[in-house]
């Protein structure tokens, strides 16, 4: 069953362009799919499913941000703000127009893509650090609008919107298991789309811009178009993430979409690996599970009555978060994706060293 590549045996372009070239990889993927869609939802408890749901939602946002930052090399500190746009758009469409989720979520995506493109316009004239600050401004401006524009929240300043659970026709997706399928469907769609974007003209144009935008322009890549497209696509993902969050928690309030959220998402792609789709998912899982894992650890310490306490949870989380980011940057800048690749390489040649 185990196949290793020991040469290039493809006889058609189709086979050569396949994402998963080896039978082992394809079987592995199929097995992963079975675990994801059959084993986990039936075997796992509510708590684990709720964490997996959050991971799924975060994956969508991280993949989108990675397309922009890792793919096109444009820095965005406004992911949280863009997610807010998506969440509020979906909530408003669902509440005031009564749209079902399969209409309101794409609508949220397109709305956010529009907003994201507007804030992406400065990227045409400024880059790098200046752009990071421009997107930071986007974050603050969006946050402020949510707090002060009564027409958005409808209930006056600082109001939260409360949603019905998503419904597929007569079937309300109201339990953790049903929501799991709902979230994972979108996460899979997002993954497949991103995987394919990076293989097409679009993805290659992004990479060209990331590596050197002036050179890319000389090679015939329309920078104006592709930088805005990168912002639009990434914001679309952010919008969908926000909308998923809205449907999942059924409450939309600005508190979930602050600068801290934007930083969390940047941390996900740094820890996962810049420019890598599987890395984004790993990073999303890591950052999402970090608070849960830490809480578990602290409770174990308390339960066993070990000497020494880890102190206040919020502060410990901050410190750990910062240390992990710095640690990854210094010791493994390729992130979890690189670690995963190295592990695979090791086992491919095992038991030989090389």
């Amino acid at each position: 069953m185990i196949h290793r590549e020991c040469g290039v045996y493809q006889t058609s372009y189709r086979a050569d362009m396949a994402v998963y070239k080896l039978p082992l990889a394809r079987w592995g993927l199929a097995g992963f799919g079975v675990v994801l869609f059959l084993v986990l939802p039936l075997a796992a408890g509510e708590y684990i499913l709720s964490i997996l749901n959050l991971v799924g939602i975060a994956s969508v946002g991280a993949i989108g941000l990675n397309l922009l930052v890792g793919g096109a090399g444009q820095i965005s500190l406004g992911q949280g703000g863009f997610m807010a746009v998506g969440a509020y758009t979906a909530a408003i469409f669902a509440l005031r127009l009564g749209l079902p989720f399969w209409l309101s979520i794409p609508a949220a995506g397109f709305m956010t893509a529009l907003v994201g493109s507007v804030f992406g316009i400065p990227s045409l004239r400024v880059k790098g650090l200046y752009l990071a600050i421009a997107t930071l401004a986007a974050q603050f401006i969006i946050e402020w609008n949510l707090l002060h524009s009564a027409w958005i929240t409808g209930t006056g300043a600082q109001g939260a919107l409360v949603l019905e659970p998503p419904a597929l026709g007569w079937l309300a997706l109201d339990t953790e298991v049903k929501k799991y399928y709902f979230v994972m469907a979108f996460a899979i769609l997002a993954t497949v789309a991103a995987r394919n974007i990076s293989r097409t003209y679009l993805g290659r144009a992004f990479v060209a811009i990331r590596d050197h935008d002036v050179a890319a322009e000389i090679m015939g890549v329309n920078i104006f178009r592709y930088k805005l497209l990168a912002f639009a696509i990434s914001s679309f993902y952010a919008g969908v993430t926000g909308a998923l969050w809205a449907y999942y928690t059924q409450v939309v309030s600005y508190e979930h979409f602050t600068l801290g959220t934007s930083i969390d998402y940047l941390a996900m792609i740094i820890i996962g690996g810049l420019g890598s789709v599987p890395g984004s998912i790993l990073g999303a899982a890591f950052i999402t599970m970090l608070p849960a894992g830490l809480r578990e650890l602290m409770e174990t310490v308390k339960r066993l009555g070990l000497p020494g306490t880890l102190g206040n949870f919020t502060y410990t989380r901050e410190i750990l978060f910062g240390l992990i980011i710095i640690g990854f940057l210094i010791f493994e800048p390729g992130g979890l994706a690189r670690i995963w690749r190295r592990a695979k390489d090791y086992f491919r040649l095992w038991p030989f060293a090389y």
Partner: protein, 294 residues
């Protein structure tokens, strides 16, 4: 009219502080092209340290301030050596994330050591306001504005007249040429972070005196962004002028726009201006425009 004068004078006072913090920011950017997202947290730490030296260790004020500066300079040095030097040559986003990570660590450690409650500085100056141009201003504000201006003067002298100041400017112009002329890049980088630490310590002392010390002090780091973008990231002169501009703008916005929109204009107007400036003059009022060649 009195309202307008009052807002402007208050804005200038706050602007002096923004300028001070922005100076540290611009200094680091000039020397190493790093945007320091932990600047606000460094200011916060400076405030806490100064408070500890004054209230717990009971040092006299000038000694306490000097001690704070020394500790913060040491911290800046360690940060440059330990975190940023290994990241030389990495993409911009990595360096930004490193300073964001540092900010998170400082934000967690500071309230863990000291508590997160607001703590007032022991009163150094009398609380009765003095009238200037018919506007009542507390002596603390005046003292901090004066201190900020003194610091700017020292900075100006440092960059124009001293050996190290000129070395830092040379490195910011062209690191390779500077190294070829015998300037030790490592010393310049470490020194610029140490000076940024000193400036943060000063900022922490002054802010702490005006508002009390609490974790929200770190928010000054966010306020610095509109200032440095407006002035140009690599311009000391720009930071000084833009600091005062943003301070005044903010106060005018709070006075005149807040009643229309229901509060909070103070926090968002500088960022709206920031976006506008980036679209019209991407390199700020005094920043150096970079001409790219392939």
């Amino acid at each position: 009219m009195t309202f307008f004068v009052e807002l402007t004078v208050n804005g200038l006072m706050v602007g002096a502080l923004y300028t001070l913090v922005a100076l540290g920011f611009v200094l680091v950017y000039k020397a190493s092209e790093v945007i320091n997202f932990a600047q606000g947290e460094q200011v916060m730490l400076g405030g806490y340290l100064a408070l500890m030296m004054l209230a717990s260790v009971r040092l006299p004020l000038p000694v306490a301030i000097l001690a704070t500066m020394a500790v913060m300079a040491g911290l800046g040095f360690v940060v440059e050596r330990g975190i940023l030097r290994p990241l030389t040559g990495y993409p911009v986003v990595s360096v930004i994330m490193a300073t964001i990570g540092l900010a998170a660590v400082l934000r967690g450690i500071t309230p863990m050591i000291w508590s997160a409650e607001v703590r007032g500085f022991p009163a150094i100056l009398p609380a009765t306001p003095v009238k200037i141009l018919g506007v009542p201003i507390s002596p603390v504000n005046i003292a901090s504005a004066v201190l900020a201006v003194v610091f700017m003067a020292i900075f100006g002298y440092f960059f124009q007249r001293t050996r190290f100041g000129v070395a830092i400017r040379a490195v910011s112009d062209d690191p390779q040429a500077a190294a070829a002329m015998g300037i030790d890049l490592r010393i310049v980088l470490a020194l610029s972070w140490a000076i940024a630490g000193i400036v943060s310590a000063m900022g922490g002392v002054i802010w702490g005196n005006m508002l009390g010390v609490d974790p929200y002090l770190a928010l000054v780091g966010v306020k610095v962004f509109p200032v440095v973008i407006l002035g140009g990231l690599d311009s000391i002169m720009g930071a000084v002028i833009a600091g005062f501009l943003v301070g005044v703008l903010e106060n005018l916005a709070a006075g005149y726009v807040d009643p229309l929109v229901g509060g909070g204009a103070k926090d968002v107007v500088p960022f709206v201006v920031l976006i506008a400036v980036l679209m019209v003059r991407p390199y700020g009022l005094f920043g150096r425009e970079i001409i790219e060649r392939v």
